[in-house]
Symmetry: none
Subunit: 407 residues, 2 copies
């Protein structure tokens, strides 16, 4: 029997409130330089500590041993979806990151302006890193003049510097396509092709991209240095079973940054707009307590400072999160999970594969008799070291959402 | 998406040097008789201890819970191959153990001399355990007289006592075949058959074995007690993707015993011949540092003394390994993994299923804050208790050999 079917079959309706709190990139590694302490271990976290005594701990393998995930696979796994089964293309992630509301079947591409010479050879892949303002102006011009190709709607949105995204919204489209990017200077922009040669939908999408180039290139032909553009990571938004369908939960996303709102929206969560700080986010949780069963609360800063390699700032971000926790405790969720979507060790200055610590607190979580949530303590917890995609199932179990299997 | 394909897709080229050091059978279990200490725990290992502070630990499940592996599956898993997918027949292992250089497609059989009566009934399955010298003489005689059968080359090599191996090297052959061995006295030698009835290649191999019996039996018919022979574990060398193909690594094997060289050769490692001690092996590593990316260094003695049930000798073997470690540290590999291919507990006097401890040391391994590498300490490490086949993937990750998965 398929495990997902079993979970689905055993799912019961309850009144429980569940909160998944993601401290982005919180996991780290202990090094000699930092006295063999991680930022989480070095941080003063009195409120988290108070929660820990009655909690179970463990560590989450984001995808598979040794695999470093991007935010997409990292979050899909936390939402309970197998990140190998549900892959979200780079273009889709980029579009979500700019706050575009994609629909299943939309084909999205990361785009950036470039410089081409008279022969169509790419001479600067980043168009001299033009200003965001210039990029916005060019995108507006393109959006104004290329609204549709055949029956397909074209959506263009500027990003930072030379970057933008293009979304094709129409019937019968599919990715992934090869890149319209030579990946180095001195070559022409290649034609895109379906990655899977036999897909008729991908062939249609490839034709669409070619037609888009035909329509768009003349519009900017005289706008040196940004007289051309490259498209990469061209993929469609996959069909993902919604949170409501999969878990029977009304889910809300309380995030600050667009990409995480976008990822939550991919699985059918409601985005609650407005909050700009973790205090605001917890207050919004209190305000919306009665309207949802599940709250995804995303805190960006441990990842951001981990990427900078700034140990002190990462520790401080964790402390600021901790200081806000009492707001959440005003109406304590029945099941709380606190974890990261991956580790972002300061010495790596980027995401990594190291399992992130996780804590589950509920009336049924039991206690691992640990005084703090730390990487080293979590190694010895009752949850063990397991794939992140099972966290949701443990949260459901803690919420008494599963009937007994078999007699 | 298939996980192996994902790993392959994410693999990057780096300059890192990786060393996999296998203390054969090092894992053990703590018993009251030995003061609840394992040989690894009882041993004085100052050099290993010094490495440990900056290392991650865990335990490796050789194949699956409760499965005791032979050296073949044990090492294939350490080399990153699923030992259930890539099965190496007993005949192949035996041939490798005698130092024969097999090629993909070769069919190999474990063989031993036996005694048969006038009616062809096996009366002694081990031919009175004849001397190795007699065995060698008989094998030479057979090898002299049966060099080919049809277009297939026959290779015969004596082992210890009554044991030898037979290798058939020709086109279109395949195993596995049933045994030409009644497995008890009082019965005739059975005809071999393909295990998978429909394989034409296995039918050809079965016919070949029958023809080999016809040619070989008359030659030794008068050599009582060794006037017959049995063939078991008849299998072909499977096609295994090479280390270079799978990981993009130039790999060298520095082992003393032929079987481990053979197993390394199966996955395309270069065998570096010569070293007879662990000091020699580490010196050879230093000498070859620039020529390879990956070094498999095999140390046999913990297993040997474990098989003897000799706790003191197993402990001493570990101490001797430790004493040689500073040679390796003269050019410290970027990623070091130290583990066993399985446990060989002294009370078992043989291989076992108990997960072996593993240590990974690199700039990115982080520290589990453990002072020693031991079974009990490894239980609390950040690597967790996981299948041995993933160790290579963690080594690759520690060598920064993987790109990020998804955006």
């Amino acid at each position: 029997m398929n495990l997902d079917s079993l979970y689905s079959e055993l799912t019961l309706k309850t009144d429980a409130k569940l909160a998944l709190i993601v401290l982005d990139g919180v996991g780290d590694i202990a090094t000699r330089e930092q006295g063999y302490l991680t930022p989480l271990e070095a941080a003063a976290t009195p409120n988290l500590d108070a929660l820990t005594k009655g909690s179970a701990q463990g560590r989450l393998i984001p995808v598979a041993p040794g695999i470093t995930p991007g935010s997409g696979p990292g979050h899909l796994a936390l939402f309970g979806y197998d990140p190998l089964e549900f892959q979200v293309g780079r273009g889709v992630i980029e579009a979500l990151g700019l706050g575009l509301e994609l629909r299943a079947g939309d084909v999205a591409a990361r785009a950036n302006f470039c410089t081409v010479n008279d022969q169509g050879i790419v001479t600067d892949r980043r168009a001299g890193r033009i200003d965001t303002k210039v990029c916005e102006e060019l995108c507006e011009m393109l959006a104004e003049k290329v609204k549709k190709i055949g029956d397909t709607q074209v959506i263009i949105k500027a990003g930072k510097g030379h970057r933008f995204v293009v979304v094709f919204r129409g019937k019968g489209l599919e990715g992934p396509l090869t890149d319209a990017d030579p990946h180095r200077e001195g070559l022409p922009i290649p034609k895109v092709e379906p990655v899977k040669a036999k897909s008729a939908k991908a062939k249609k999408a490839a034709k669409l991209v070619a037609d888009f180039y035909k329509a768009a290139l003349p519009i900017i032909a005289k706008r040196k240095p940004a007289n051309g553009f490259l498209l990469r990571g061209i993929a469609h938004q996959p069909i993902i079973p919604s949170f409501a369908y999969r878990y029977g939960l009304r889910a809300a996303c309380i995030a600050v940054y667009p990409m995480y709102k976008g990822l939550a929206q991919l699985v059918g969560m409601n985005k609650l707009e407005g909050p700009q700080t973790i205090e605001d986010q917890f207050k919004r949780y209190l305000a919306e307590y009665d309207h949802y069963d599940f709250f995804f609360i995303h805190y960006k800063y441990p990842d951001m400072y981990g990427e900078d390699g700034n140990f002190a700032a990462k520790r401080k971000a964790i402390e600021e999160f901790d200081a806000a926790l009492p707001i959440l405790f005003q109406k304590r969720p029945d099941v709380i999970a606190i974890t990261g979507d991956h580790s972002t060790p300061c010495v790596v200055k980027g995401h990594s594969w190291h399992p992130q610590p996780v804590l589950i607190h509920s009336a049924l979580s039991g206690s691992d008799k640990l005084d703090r949530l730390t990487e080293t303590g979590a190694n010895t917890g009752s949850l063990g070291i397991f794939e992140a995609k099972y966290l949701m199932r443990l949260m459901q179990a803690n919420a008494r959402m599963f009937d007994k299997f078999g007699a």
